[in-house]
C-alpha cells in the first residue's frame, strides 16, 4: 500500500470528525445484501522491486522489434521516436493533468493542443482539427457521423484498399448511426474512380486511404473529385509521415482528413495508446467531434487558450452532442507535436523520401531474387505487397525462424492474396537489413 498516506492516528481523527466509529460504518447506505463479504480473489500484492521483476518477465516473453528484424506495418509502424518526446511526456505537470476544464490551470496543455491543431491543419490542408480521437479507426466512424448529419444521406462508401481495421470499426458503428456501409473493391491495388463515383450516389461520405493499405499511392485527386461529383464528402485517411512528400488532402478537395497518428511520434506499444486525428474544412467546424482549443484573451488583454465551441459536446449538448467523446488521447497527440517539431518540414520530407527510397530498393532486390510483386505497376510509399509463392503464414513462420519478421500476411483480409506479404520499411531499416530480409525469404 505504499501509495497511501493515512496513519492510524489520521484514521482515528478523521472517523471522529465524521462522527462514525469505523470505516465499515461509512458504507451503511449500501444494502446489507450487497456488501461484499470476502477478500477479493486477486493475485498477491507486490512491492515495487517484485512488481518490476514480474513485469520484466512478462515483457521478456514478447519478441519486440529490438529483438527481431521486423518488416511489420499494416497500420502500426516502427519509426524512430526521439528521446525528447519521452522527456516532454514525462513532465509531471503534463503527464498527470486532466482535461483543461479550468484554463487558468492548464495553459501549458491548452497551448500545446492549439499548436498540435495547427500542425495537423498545416499538414492536411484543413481549417480545423480536434484535439485527437482514440485512434485511426474511431476517427473514421466520427467522420461518418459528421457526414451523416451534414448531408442526411443514408450510406457511406469505404474503399476495400482501406485498412481492414478501419473498415471493421466503421461497420460496427454504422447501425447505430443508421448508416449502411458500401465497399468499393480495388483493381490491382488501386481504387477505380468511376466505380467509386457510381457507389457514392447518395453516400454521405467516401473514405479512402492514401497511400492505401497496400502502400500504393491512389489517384487521390481523382477519387476526391469522384466523390464530390456524387455529392459525397471526400474523406482521406492519410499517414502524417507521408505529408512531407505527398499533397495535402485539402489541396485536392477533400472535406475531411483523418488518420492514425502512431507513425508520427508514438511507440508501437502493441497498438496503443495512440492518437487518431480528424481535421476538416471550416464548414464542418460546428459538427466536429471532441475537444477543440481556441485562442482568446484574459481580463488584462493577455493572450490565452481555452476549450471552445463546447456547445457541440456531450457535457453541454447531452443527447444532441456531435459525439460522446470526453477522455481523448491528448498526451499521445502532444508526442506527435513534439515529434513533428523535432523533424520540421525538411526532416519530414527527408523521412518520407528515405522510406520511399528504401522501398524501391527492397522491391528491386526482391524481384532480382525471383519474387513477384503483387502490384508491380504501382508507386508505393513505405509498404508494398509481394508474393512469396506459398501461404503468407508459412513464409512468416519460416522467416521468423531465421530472426526476421518479413511482414503482414494479407490472406487474413484479402482471400486473393493468401500468398502475399505486406512489407513495411521505415527509416529504422538499412539496405543491409533489406538484404537480410531477401535472404530469409529466399532460404525459407
Amino acid at each position: 500500500m505504499s501509495y497511501l498516506s493515512l496513519t492510524e492516528r489520521d484514521r482515528e481523527e478523521m472517523l471522529a470528525a465524521i462522527g462514525v466509529s469505523s470505516v465499515e460504518e461509512l458504507f451503511r447506505d449500501i444494502p446489507a445484501g450487497l456488501r461484499f463479504d470476502r477478500e477479493l480473489a486477486l493475485d498477491p500484492a507486490l512491492g515495487e522491486q517484485e512488481l518490476s521483476r514480474h513485469l520484466e518477465e512478462l515483457a521478456a516473453r514478447n519478441v519486440d522489434t529490438s529483438r527481431e528484424l521486423s518488416f511489420l506495418g499494416a497500420g502500426i509502424y516502427d519509426h524512430y521516436v526521439p528521446a525528447i518526446v519521452d522527456a516532454v511526456l514525462q513532465r509531471g505537470e503534463l503527464l498527470t493533468a486532466y482535461t483543461p476544464y479550468q484554463p487558468e490551470m492548464s495553459q501549458g496543455i491548452l497551448q500545446a493542443i492549439f499548436e498540435y491543431q495547427t500542425a495537423v491543419c498545416e499538414l492536411t490542408g484543413m481549417d480545423v482539427s480536434n484535439a485527437s480521437g482514440y485512434d485511426g479507426t474511431t476517427v473514421a466512424a466520427d467522420a461518418c457521423y459528421v457526414a451523416k448529419h451534414a448531408t442526411g444521406r443514408p450510406r457511406v462508401v469505404v474503399t476495400e484498399a482501406t485498412n481492414p481495421q478501419v473498415r471493421q470499426v466503421v461497420k460496427t458503428y454504422a447501425p447505430g448511426f443508421g448508416l449502411e456501409i458500401v465497399e468499393v473493391p480495388h483493381r490491382d491495388g488501386l481504387t477505380n474512380p468511376d466505380e467509386l463515383r457510381r457507389a457514392a450516389e447518395d453516400a454521405a461520405c467516401v473514405i479512402f486511404q492514401h497511400p492505401n493499405f497496400f502502400g500504393c499511392l491512389e489517384a487521390a485527386p481523382d477519387l476526391a473529385a469522384a466523390a464530390t461529383e456524387a455529392g459525397a464528402i471526400p474523406v482521406a485517411h492519410v499517414d502524417l509521415v507521408s505529408l512531407g512528400v505527398l499533397e495535402a488532402p485539402g489541396a485536392y478537395g477533400c472535406g475531411m482528413a483523418i488518420g492514425e497518428g502512431q507513425s508520427a511520434g508514438n511507440y508501437q506499444s502493441f497498438a496503443g495508446p495512440h492518437y487518431g486525428f480528424l481535421a476538416a474544412r471550416n464548414e464542418f467546424i460546428r459538427r466536429m467531434p471532441g475537444r477543440i482549443v481556441g485562442e482568446t484573451v484574459d481580463t488584462a488583454g493577455k493572450r490565452g487558450y481555452v476549450l471552445t465551441l463546447q456547445t457541440r459536446e456531450q457535457h453541454i449538448r447531452r443527447e444532441k452532442a456531435t459525439s460522446n467523446i470526453t477522455t481523448n488521447q491528448t498526451l499521445l497527440a502532444l508526442a506527435g507535436l513534439v515529434y513533428l517539431s523535432w523533424l520540421g518540414p525538411e526532416g519530414l520530407r527527408e523521412l518520407g523520401e528515405t522510406c520511399m527510397g528504401l522501398g524501391v530498393y527492397a522491391k528491386q532486390r526482391l524481384v532480382d531474387a525471383g519474387f513477384e510483386l503483387a502490384f508491380p505497376e504501382r508507386t508505393t510509399f513505405k509498404e508494398f505487397a509481394v508474393r512469396v509463392g506459398r501461404s503468407g503464414q508459412e513464409a512468416v513462420r519460416a522467416a521468423r525462424a531465421q530472426g526476421v519478421h518479413p511482414g503482414y500476411a494479407l490472406g487474413r483480409d484479402y482471400p486473393g492474396l493468401d500468398d502475399t506479404l505486406l512489407v513495411a520499411i521505415t527509416e529504422r531499416r538499412s539496405p543491409a537489413d533489406v538484404d537480410r530480409l531477401v535472404e530469409a525469404l529466399t532460404q525459407a
Binding site: 478523521m14 501549458g108 499533397e247 495508446p273 467523446i325
Partner: protein
C-alpha cells in the same frame, strides 16, 4: 508566451535522420506536395525549452491537490512509467505472432480476470478506448442481445438518470436508441415511482452510475434492478465511480449486466492532460457471445486471440486496445492485490472527512454520508454575496489547489463536486478545507478578491465567450489575427520603468 510557430526560423532543425545510400524516389507530379508544410523549425535545445516552459504553466497531480470530481485524480506511480517503457512492451507490434506475444497476452488476460473479479461479472473485453466508448459498446451489446431475441425493433429506449454524465445520453443517441430520463428523489436516489412509469416492454435498458455523480450509493438499487429485469431489460453500470466500491460492493451483485471501467480513473493511468484512457467492459455470461473481437483467451497455458465469435458486434477500436494503459493499470492492481479494498475504503474515508469539514460552510443538497466524492452547492454564497461556484473555483487557484468539478451534476445549482481520492494525506485535505472555509469568509469580507481571481496564474480569467465567437482554432502565420499581444505587465509589476 510565444507559440512554437512564432519561435520558428527557416533553416533550423531538430533531428538528423539516417541517409541510407539508395536512389531518391520519384513521386508522381500530380501527387507530390506542392507547398511545404509550415512545421516549426527550431533546434532541439529550443524545442525542449518550449515544452518545459509549457509544462510550468500547467498543473498536475504532481503539482498538488486535484479534487476534480468524477475524474479520480489519484497518484500515478512512477514505476508504472518505467515498466510501460520496457522494450518488450513498448516496441511490440500488434501483428507479432501470438507465440511471440505471450507476455503481452498474459498481461491482458490477467487484467481481464482482475476486472471480472472486481465487478462480479463473467467476461471482459479490454478493447474500448475510454469510458464513453465502453458505454457505446455496451449499448451495441444490448442491441445485439435483443436482436438475437427478435426484440431489437421493439426495445428502442434507454433510461438514464437526470444526474447522469453527458456521455450517457450522447452514447444513447449514437447507438441509435431513444432516451428516457428518470428523476432523482429527495435522498439523491433514483426516483423509483417515476422509474416505474418509464419502464415497459419497449425499454432496452438502464444506464446508471452507482454511486451516483452525487457521490451517493443508491439505496434502492436492488429494486431498480428488479424493475428492469422484470421487463426483460438490461442494466448498464457506468463505472466512472468504481473507485468507491472495489472490494466493498460489486456491480454484478447489484444486478448490473454490463459494466465499463475507466482504467484512467480507478486504476491510475495518468490522465495526460485529457487522455489516454481505457474503458474495458465486463459483462454477464449471457452477453459474452456479443463482445468485440478478438477476445484474449487462455487455453491450458497458452494465450490466444480468438476471432471466432460469430455473434460478436465486431470491432470498436483498432487491434486489441490501448495496451500501455493495461500495463499501468495491471501494475496498479498488483501493488494492492487482495487488499484492493483498502484503496476504496481510504478514498471514501478521505471524502467523508472533507465533507465533514465543509458541510456547515457550504450548502449540502443531500445530507448523507458520501462515498468517494460529494457535491456541495454555492447557492447561499451566490444569493448573499453574488459569489458563484466559478468564483470559488478560481479563488482556489490562488491557494494553489486545482478546483473541483463545477456545475455538474446539473441537478445541483452552483455545484462543487469534490473527489479527493485515496492517495492524499490528511494534511492536504485539511489545507484544502481551510482554503474553502477562508473563501467563505472572503466572500463576505472582500468579494472583489474572489471575482478577480485567479491572481497568481500565468493568465487571469479568460474570455471563453470571445473564444467561441471568434473561433481561432489554429495559428494563422502571417495573417494571425491580433488578439492583443501580452502587455509587458510582468516587468512593470517588478518595477521596471518601461516594459523593457
Amino acid at each position: 508566451m510565444k507559440l512554437i510557430f512564432e519561435k520558428s526560423q527557416p533553416g533550423r532543425r531538430g533531428g538528423e535522420l539516417p541517409k541510407p545510400d539508395v536512389q531518391a524516389p520519384v513521386v508522381p507530379a500530380e501527387l507530390r506536395r506542392s507547398k511545404p508544410p509550415r512545421l516549426p523549425e527550431l533546434a532541439e535545445p529550443e524545442i525542449l525549452r518550449h515544452f518545459t516552459q509549457l509544462s510550468t504553466r500547467n498543473f498536475g497531480i504532481d503539482t498538488g491537490f486535484y479534487p476534480l470530481g468524477s475524474c479520480t485524480m489519484k497518484y500515478n506511480p512512477r514505476v508504472n512509467e518505467r515498466l510501460v517503457a520496457l522494450p518488450g512492451f513498448r516496441d511490440l507490434h500488434p501483428y507479432q505472432d501470438e507465440e511471440a506475444s505471450q507476455g503481452a497476452l498474459e498481461l491482458m488476460w490477467r487484467l481481464q480476470e482482475s476486472l471480472i473479479e472486481v465487478s462480479g461479472l463473467h467476461a471482459c473485453s479490454l478493447q474500448p478506448a475510454a469510458g464513453s466508448q465502453g458505454e457505446l459498446t455496451g449499448l451495441m451489446l444490448m442491441r445485439a442481445y435483443f436482436a438475437d431475441r427478435g426484440e431489437a425493433d421493439r426495445r428502442d429506449t434507454i433510461v438514464t438518470a437526470d444526474t447522469a454524465h453527458g456521455t450517457n445520453p450522447a452514447s444513447v443517441t449514437m447507438a441509435g436508441y431513444k432516451l428516457a430520463k428518470v428523476r432523482t428523489d429527495a435522498r439523491g436516489n433514483v426516483d423509483v415511482e417515476h422509474l416505474r412509469e418509464l419502464v415497459d416492454d419497449r425499454t432496452a435498458g438502464l444506464m446508471l452510475t452507482n454511486p451516483s455523480t452525487l457521490g451517493l450509493f443508491d439505496e434502492h438499487i436492488e429494486e431498480v434492478a428488479a424493475i428492469f429485469h422484470g421487463v426483460g431489460a438490461l442494466l448498464y453500470y457506468d463505472g466512472a465511480n468504481l473507485n468507491a466500491v472495489c472490494g466493498i460492493s460489486r456491480p454484478g451483485d447489484m444486478g448490473f449486466d454490463i459494466v465499463h471501467i475507466n482504467l484512467h480513473k480507478t486504476f491510475s493511468q495518468p490522465h495526460g492532460g485529457g487522455g489516454p484512457g481505457g474503458g474495458p467492459i465486463v459483462v454477464r455470461d449471457t452477453l459474452e457471445p456479443y463482445l468485440p473481437v478478438p477476445a484474449v483467451v487462455k487455453e491450458s497455458d497458452v494465450f490466444r486471440l480468438d476471432f471466432d465469435r460469430p455473434k460478436s458486434i465486431g470491432k470498436v477500436r483498432g487491434y486489441t486496445g490501448p495496451f500501455g494503459v493495461f500495463v499501468r493499470s495491471y501494475a496498479y492492481i498488483r501493488s494492492y492485490g487482495p487488499r484492493l479494498r483498502e484503496m476504496s475504503e481510504t478514498a471514501v474515508l478521505n471524502a467523508n472527512y472533507l465533507l465533514a469539514r465543509l458541510k456547515d460552510a457550504y450548502d449540502l443538497p443531500f445530507d448523507r454520508l458520501c462515498m468517494h466524492e460529494f457535491v456541495l452547492s454555492a447557492r447561499t454564497l451566490k444569493r448573499e454575496h453574488g459569489i458563484t461556484a466559478t468564483d470559488v473555483a478560481k479563488r482556489l487557484m490562488d491557494y494553489r489547489f486545482h478546483p473541483p468539478t463545477v456545475y455538474f451534476p446539473l441537478v445541483v445549482p452552483e455545484a462543487l463536486m469534490i473527489e479527493p481520492t485515496e492517495t492524499e494525506a490528511k494534511e492536504t485535505l485539511d489545507a484544502f478545507a481551510d482554503a474553502m472555509l477562508a473563501i467563505v469568509r472572503e466572500a463576505a469580507d472582500d468579494p472583489g478578491v474572489l471575482k478577480d481571481a485567479p491572481h497568481a496564474r500565468p493568465v487571469n480569467r479568460l474570455d471563453e465567450v470571445r473564444a467561441a465567437k471568434r473561433a481561432i482554432v489554429k495559428y494563422g502565420f502571417e495573417e494571425h489575427p491580433d488578439v492583443s499581444q501580452e502587455p509587458s505587465a510582468e516587468l512593470r509589476q517588478l518595477g521596471a520603468p518601461t516594459g523593457a
